[in-house]
């Protein structure tokens, strides 16, 4: 075991996969010589050379498009989009090409690419460096969408994503990159895709969350246990699409109360899907409506710190929402 932050764990996962399989490569803006703006790919170009740690122009459609072409020719590229906010120019490549490759070729071709992108709010990130874009890709059959939070999960999921024969969009919360360190196995291991994780067991309500919100939810759960004797079960989806419905529904049926917390603006976000599944398939077990907490209907995360603090759900609001549900 080694003690690693999220950023280090992802780096290790990439390096180990590149050592084990010479068709694995990374590509993106500043991922080579500079080692990536968040230092995720630091040292990879020194170790594996400029062709396997490839610096690309500022052109996201090209990064993903070239990755698709490389995959069609036997490589396993891991494309980095510097900030998830920059991903729209690559939408067409991801949604209309990568996601449909296998289907359109009647299984003759697959598209083994991983697209990594740091998402979520950071102070000062504002409209174009703080967005939560995960829902944008979750309505696209053919893609897998992954969003781990803790270092050990992230490393194992990244390895699983790279080895998966189909395209995986891998979201990393940039505020969680250096938030904490955790023991991470050094031996080769994977964390399965499409499998949720129960972080904390409880009997009174279930809260589903991911990213930095998950850290706050776990903190709030401890406070609720201490101050009110309410035991909250906390579930992290890990894979947002396709969802691990079994784990989510099992927890909902056990606790009978359900809350989803994410920092994306609410309408059309991931929480709507989770809420509708629970309300549809665990209806008879529910003692209250499935509640959701998310960001307000504002076109972007504000730059000003007080406005950003208002926009992103905080510990107090999360705890308040949990109590509201508990008292329903």
């Amino acid at each position: 075991m080694a003690t690693r932050s999220l950023v280090q764990a992802i780096h290790d996962g990439l390096a180990e996969e590149m050592r084990a399989d010479e068709t694995v490569m990374v590509m993106g803006e500043d991922v080579g010589r500079a080692g990536g703006v968040f230092r995720v790919t630091e040292g990879l170009q020194q170790e594996f050379g400029p062709y396997r740690a490839l610096d690309t122009p500022l052109a996201e459609s090209l990064i993903v498009g070239a990755a698709i072409g490389l995959a069609a020719n036997g490589m396993k590229p891991v494309a980095e989009i510097q900030f998830a906010d920059f991903i729209p120019p690559a939408f067409d490549q991801i949604v209309s090409e990568a996601a449909r490759f296998r289907y359109r070729s009647n299984n003759a071709w697959n598209c083994q690419i991983t697209v990594r992108a740091p998402y979520g709010h950071i102070p000062g990130g504002a409209l174009y460096h703080s967005q939560s874009v995960e829902a944008w890709f979750c309505n696209v059959p053919g893609l897998k969408v992954v969003a781990p939070t803790y270092p050990a999960d992230a490393k194992g999921l990244l390895k699983a994503a790279i080895r998966d024969p189909d395209p995986v969009i891998f979201f990393e919360h940039k505020k969680a990159y250096r938030l904490l360190k955790q023991e991470v196995p050094e031996n080769d291991y994977t964390v399965p895709l499409r499998k949720a994780k129960v972080h904390r067991e409880g009997t009174d309500m279930t809260v589903v969350s991911y990213g930095v919100m998950l850290h706050l939810v776990l903190e709030a759960a401890e406070k609720l246990a201490g101050e009110h004797g309410i035991e909250v079960e906390v579930v992290e989806p890990l894979t947002l699409y396709p969802l691990d419905k079994a784990t989510i529904l099992e927890s909902a049926r056990k606790t009978g109360k359900f809350l989803v917390v994410s920092e994306a603006n609410l309408e059309g976000s991931v929480s709507g899907e989770i809420a509708s599944i629970v309300a549809e398939e665990a209806f008879e077990w529910l003692d209250g409506p499935v509640m959701r907490l998310g960001a307000p209907n504002v076109p972007g995360i504000p730059f000003a710190k007080p406005l950003m603090d208002w926009y992103v759900p905080d510990l107090e609001r999360i705890q308040g929402k949990m109590l509201e549900l508990a008292r329903y």
């Binding site: 729209p88 699409y241 309408e267 809420a275 549809e280 409506p289």
Partner: protein
């Protein structure tokens, strides 16, 4: 009122607005000389000239970006996407610029822009021309997203969209361009965020938008034969969403089925179901169910395409299920 097709209603709305306001202009691929791939803009080049009906290169990012610039400077462009699938190329312009300019300029700059075109399928255009984009665009504050189904609403909502100071995503039911309905002459607007009760009923609420409204109406007729009165809600607007009308209906019927053509997971129906169960939980006598398209890229073959989209039978069956009358 005269009876007109969906296509004629669209063209009438744009023509009347172009006659009324010379800042209104059209841009898109093949909309001028050729009259539009779906013949929506046929004849408008002759009426308004090439400065107001602009044939663009095949470059969605280019002409959408240009239209945003025109809108910021005071024009009112209406952009045609040949199909909404192609808008992915322009996604950065639409969600990062059009939707945010007013917000990040502190309200100083507005973007009175309409982007319109056929959304969804039904006419054998296969995987890359049949994507339904309502839940994608519906997620973004700063955009308005509409999906009308009757020719009257098509005209009224297009006029409202052109006059609105914000970017509007106008999703047309491409398979219905030839369908007919009564359309009011002249000035006729339909507000955003106001659903239409397409059919009144007391036993179950069917929520839909676009082409699926007609499907729900047909399903409702069949249910009525067995004495089940379904209320059909036509959302018309996806963003803003008329929660009030939907919730009011569910409080009356106690049961709801949300119907969409797009893929089941993370679709508009997910949001509708989440809202209903949250705001009408104590009124619900059954889980809110969803009827959706099959979770595959749209096939080309007619028989497979039909299997992929919701059918009357499915809606009837699911409506019976929420009434606990499973057969």
């Amino acid at each position: 009122m005269a009876e007109k097709t969906y296509r004629e209603a669209l063209k009438e709305a744009m023509t009347e607005e172009m006659e009324r306001d010379e800042s209104v202009l059209l841009l898109g691929e093949d909309i001028g000389v050729y009259g539009g791939t779906h013949l929506i803009t046929d004849g408008l080049l002759d009426m308004f000239g090439k400065k107001r009906v602009i044939d663009t290169p095949i470059s969605e990012a280019g002409f959408t970006g240009a239209a945003i610039g025109m809108a910021m400077m005071g024009l009112r462009p209406v952009v045609e996407m040949m199909t909404w699938n192609f808008s992915f190329i322009a996604a950065d312009q639409i969600i990062q610029n059009a939707a945010k300019v007013r917000y990040f300029s502190g309200g100083q700059v507005q973007v009175p822009l309409v982007i319109r075109g056929p959304n969804g399928g039904g006419v054998q255009l296969s995987a890359q021309h049949t994507h339904s984009l309502e839940s994608f665009y519906g997620h973004f504050p700063g955009l308005k997203v509409v999906a009308p189904v009757t020719p009257a609403d098509v005209k009224g909502m297009m006029i409202s969209s052109i006059r609105d100071p914000n970017p509007v995503i106008f999703l047309e039911a491409g398979a219905l361009y030839g369908t007919r309905g009564e359309v009011p002459e002249g000035e006729h607007t339909v507000p955003f965020g106001k659903a239409r009760v397409a059919r009144e009923g007391s036993d179950v609420t069917l929520v839909a938008y676009g082409r699926q409204v007609l499907l729900c109406e047909r399903a409702a007729e069949r249910l009525a034969e067995d004495g089940i009165e379904a209320e059909v809600i036509d959302l018309r607007s996806i963003r803003p969403l008329d929660e009030e009308t939907v919730i009011e209906s569910v409080r009356k019927t106690h049961r709801a089925v949300s119907v969409q053509e797009q893929w089941r997971y993370y679709g508009v129906s997910s949001e509708i179901a989440a809202i209903i169960q949250e705001k009408a939980f104590d009124y619900l006598d059954a889980p809110v169910e969803r009827v959706s398209g099959a979770e595959v890229p749209a096939p080309y073959a007619r028989n497979l395409e039909l299997m992929c989209f919701p059918s009357e039978e499915q809606v009837v069956e699911v409506a019976r299920r929420v009434l606990y009358q499973e057969v």
